[in-house]
Symmetry: C2
Subunit: 158 residues, 2 copies
């Protein structure tokens, strides 16, 4: 899985905390985690294309969340970065080779593919159950000062 997924999730959390109406430029986010600025920009652009974040150009510009954190699931973020295609893509090799041409061999869908899709569906279901708000709440419960410190840091470095 792409490295940008971790970046995107953490940045979304920071946007949820620091974004009190203010847009956060990607340079700030990159400085906060010591990440390459331009590449992180690329990832956040993917969030914009997916409708998770919105962008503002020019001075005082930056990114902010397009929806409330309660309405953004981890699955949304992951699919925004990784794309919607399933990790396992059935190439229907059972239809190749000497038995491939016969129409009698294609009775119903490929069960191997089905089993894989079922597993991947469970993965997606688990990701969809977790929202950004829920994750943020869990972090606040575990370390109550982290969000405040982050917010203050983002506000101070104007």
């Amino acid at each position: 899985m792409s490295r940008g997924v971790e970046w995107a999730v953490h940045c979304c959390l920071d946007l949820a905390w620091a974004g009190n109406g203010e847009a956060v430029p990607v340079s700030r986010l990159a400085a906060f985690y010591d990440l390459p600025v331009a590449y992180l920009n690329k990832q956040v652009q993917a969030l914009v294309r997916a409708g998770i974040a919105s962008s503002v150009s020019g001075p005082r510009g930056g990114f902010r969340l397009a929806r409330r954190p309660e309405r953004i699931s981890l699955l949304d973020v992951v699919t925004a970065i990784e794309g919607t295609e399933p990790a396992f893509r059935c190439a229907e090799i059972r239809q190749q080779g000497p038995f491939g041409g016969t129409p009698e061999s294609v009775t119903g869908p490929c069960l191997v593919d089905q089993a894989m899709r079922r597993a991947e569906l469970a993965w997606r279901r688990e990701l969809a159950a977790q929202t950004l708000a829920g994750l943020a709440e869990a972090v606040e419960r575990a370390a109550p000062d982290v969000p405040d410190r982050a917010r203050r840091w983002f506000d101070s470095h104007t």
Copy 2:
């Protein structure tokens, strides 16, 4: 996900059907699905390294399943090809940047990582629940003649 996973699962099914004590050479398997021989060999070798299949060299040699199909799960096959490392690997970026050095910031494990691991665990659980025997049975139920035809084809092309 690697393309070889699909090949491995299908080949394991064929080994379970065609392997009545006889070892099946990889050239036979490759011909059955019209796949590149040497590369498929590489994948099946991974199955051997994982203890799923066993190999016999020389004439009348080939591969066979090392355990009964009831004892081989889809997760076994997938991890044999893809490796045991999780798809999402937490790089702990929360510990980088200006806040990284402070020891107070590392309160407990990374919750983002935890959420991702939970999802991946659900995926693994679903894969582990499906055995090769169960999958083979499902195929027989959907298309009762497929296993027999496969067995006959593998036996005929000595």
